[in-house]
Amino acid sequence: MADLLSHVLIAYALLTVTSWLIEPLTQRWVAVGMGGAAIPDLVKLDLVLDDRLIEQTLNVPFAYAPVSSLAGVLLIAGVITLLFTHKRRRVYTLLVAGGTLSLVVDGLRAYADGHASFWLYPLWWRPPTPSLYVTSDPRVLAGTLVVAAAVALVDRYFVDTTAT
């Protein structure tokens, strides 16, 4: 997957541009979408608590992989939504939008056989990937930084944000 900072910056850029077109999408909601973009990255809990250790301890088969899938985003966004006290429908929509965006971005990264992971789970299909990048390539982050900075500048100086 792309690194978490790239995920967040891409969500910021895309949602901010969308906010220029859709009035109710304010900075408050862009921030929720940025949080949603991190949902697939929760799969990295693996680094703290290895899923193989869970398997051996509980003696059940287990993988974190679905966290970084459509099902994982839809379910975990639901959990996070319940931490909010109002406008939950909009919270959920933005969390899912941010999370799905990260999945799509991850779906473009390189696989040696040209097919991405099962990120559409519960659908068992590995969509073809254009193999655009590997995450360790600093140009990925450099590119998203430039785009996010440009969007932030336009947002600050050229877009009327008096309506909050």
Partner: protein, 159 residues
């Protein structure tokens, strides 16, 4: 919505996530188009001649004949694979994907390779950058939202 209802809802959803984790791990090997790492660990010889997609950490590289040795993890341990025909440049400690045909004696003839991490330090880079991402989310979020202790949940700032 009552707090108790929210808590129960969250617990139920997390249970479904855990269930998906079990379901995925059981079903994935039947959907994966190649022999799984567990298959290779248990009965390598019966998979010789088949295509496989392997992920592994590079142990050593021999640039003179374009081969490398990678360590592949499976459910209960790991095994080493010799990779022939590598065209990419990678250092020991790096991570690669190899797609190719399985040869006798834990060898794979690479048809294409992807260098996931060119060296061990690539992981440090990814973790550092991702930690910055986590901080950015927290700052962006808590500039707009705060925790309301009475309602036990996030509420917008300034309301």
């Amino acid at each position: 919505m009552h707090t108790a209802v929210r808590v129960i809802g969250a617990v139920l959803l997390l249970a479904v996530v855990a269930g998906a984790g079990v379901h995925y791990d059981v079903v994935e090997p039947t959907q994966w188009p190649y022999p799984s790492n567990d298959d290779l660990a248990e009965a390598y010889d019966s998979a010789v001649g088949e295509r496989a997609l392997l992920f592994g950490e590079v142990q050593s590289v021999d640039a003179t004949d374009d081969t490398a040795v990678i360590t592949v993890e499976h459910s209960t341990g790991e095994f080493d694979m010799r990779v022939t025909n590598i065209e990419a440049t990678v250092d020991p400690g790096g991570t690669i994907q190899v797609y190719g045909t399985l040869q006798p004696e834990y060898t794979i003839a690479a048809q294409s390779t992807v260098v996931v991490n060119p060296a061990g330090s690539s992981k440090t880079y990814k973790y550092a950058v991702s930690a910055l991402g986590a901080m950015l989310i927290l700052v962006a979020f808590f500039r707009q939202w705060r925790v309301d202790r009475d309602a036990l949940g996030f509420v917008p700032r300034g309301d």
